[in-house]
């Protein structure tokens, strides 16, 4: 695996020496992508490819850490010790996934601090789904089943993404996510088969989370801004609508086994296409939430900013201690160097 450090030296590869023929680099890059080879951090890559990856990986990482909040909201109220342990482990995994992904983004020459700054100042986004509130315990189950389910549908193809570090981070993430989805399903099943109040709680949660989950796949293909180029670069391997359809087809029978209904009167099996047809998605809501008008946008980002600001003195203390006691070990990550021998 290429390291973040190794990358730093060549982040300027785009502005390669004048003497080098950029066209030749572009050709090598295109050929590698066409041959389904992985692009590694120190390889030359087009600026736009790098920028697209940074944007996408950062958004993904931000989603993981903002996504901790709606579920952490229930850690202190989990109704059994077993559920509490599961939920804590899950929220912890999300922090871990954020870390894997920030690391992958760092191999592209952007530090985690820069990315966090952009999150805190609203210049980079996180998945809009986390702007919805978790109102009852059943929401924890609905998030696991539907939100993590949609995320997995999105993410499994990313394990074959053309950028090596991202693909490898996703392999790790996907392995861990499948636990998340299963625990959510199991939680809902327990509620659905429980008391009438518990069943109602589960149905209410599914009613509220179903449509926002479908929106997680992004706007329809004909309105999707970045899709075509990302597909060409093999960052993305399936279109938004394709993945959305796959998700619906997976969920319908799962909902039946749960004994819960999906809140869509238009949902029906189409024998001919071999898929479930579903009703129109309210894209006005999607764009509205994305623009900041969701129920929790303000709350989520405020909590994130506060945690970061309140932690500043701790991070400073540890850095100061390290400087005192180790003579300031490490580098800044900028100093990865090549050997003289190779240069000679």
């Amino acid at each position: 695996m290429a390291t973040a450090a190794a990358q730093r030296t060549t982040r300027t590869a785009d502005s390669a020496p004048d003497t080098v023929d950029t066209a030749a680099y572009q050709h090598a890059f295109d050929a590698a992508v066409a041959a389904d080879e992985r692009i590694e951090p120190r390889d030359w890559m087009p600026d736009a490819y790098r920028a697209t990856l940074v944007r996408q990986i950062a958004q993904h990482a931000h989603s993981e850490i903002i996504g901790m909040q709606p579920e952490a909201n229930w850690i202190t109220r989990a109704p059994s010790l077993r559920r509490k342990a599961i939920l804590m482990a899950k929220v912890q995994d999300e922090a871990g996934h954020g870390l894997y992904l920030y690391s992958a983004a760092e191999t592209l020459g952007t530090s985690r601090d820069e990315l966090l700054d952009k999150l805190h100042s609203g210049r980079q986004k996180y998945s809009s789904i986390f702007n919805y509130p978790t109102l009852t315990w059943a929401d924890v189950g609905a998030i696991g089943w539907l939100v993590d389910g949609a995320a997995i549908t999105n993410q499994v193809p990313l394990c074959r993404c053309s950028y090596g570090p991202y693909a490898r981070a996703m392999v790790r993430v996907c392995k861990e996510e499948s636990f998340h989805q299963r625990q959510g399903y199991e939680l809902l099943l327990a509620l659905s088969k429980g008391t009438p109040q518990q069943h109602a709680m589960a149905q209410d949660a599914v009613d509220r989370w179903w449509w926002p989950s479908l929106m997680m796949f992004g706007p329809p293909d004909d309105e999707s801004q970045h899709s075509a180029q990302s597909m060409e670069w093999k960052i993305k391997r399936h279109s938004n609508d394709e993945l959305r359809q796959r998700f619906v087809d997976i969920c319908v029978p799962q909902a039946e086994s749960l004994g819960l209904t999906l809140p869509d009167p238009d949902l029906r099996w189409n024998e001919e296409s071999g898929h479930h047809e579903f009703g129109p998605i309210d894209w006005t809501e999607f764009w509205d939430v994305l623009k900041g008008n969701g129920p929790c946008n303000e709350q989520r980002i405020t909590q994130r900013r506060r945690a970061h600001a309140e932690g500043a003195w701790v991070r400073e203390a540890a850095a100061a201690y390290a400087a005192k006691h180790t003579g300031g070990t490490g580098g800044t990550g900028e100093a990865g160097h090549e050997t003289g021998a190779q240069r000679a």
Partner: protein
């Protein structure tokens, strides 16, 4: 001041005895002690390892991809380094 002052560390994990350490990923830590502990929490929380190395990312010396061809290609045309290069008569054992 911010986490930029926490340098980047590369983490290598030995998944079980008898195997070598392999690169698992990276993380930020103010110093080696905490880097090791953070690595333990992050990369071995599902029992993925029995031993961890952390290396300041800045301490890694890497080959340059630009020189990929001259650096690695000469090794590609020396098949005599590999055991499959040699034909051994059928029936000869322990070789």
């Amino acid at each position: 001041m911010s986490t930029t002052d926490w340098p980047l560390w590369e983490v290598f994990v030995r998944s079980r005895r008898g195997l070598s350490h392999t690169h698992a990923g990276s993380l930020h830590a103010p110093d080696a002690e905490l880097a090791l502990r953070n690595a333990r929490d992050l990369y071995t929380r599902r029992g993925e390892g029995v031993s961890i190395w952390v290396v300041p990312a800045a301490a890694i010396t890497a080959s340059s991809p630009d020189e990929k061809d001259p650096f690695f290609e000469p090794a590609a045309d020396k098949p005599y380094r590999h055991p499959t290069f040699y034909e051994i008569p059928e029936g000869v054992k322990h070789l």
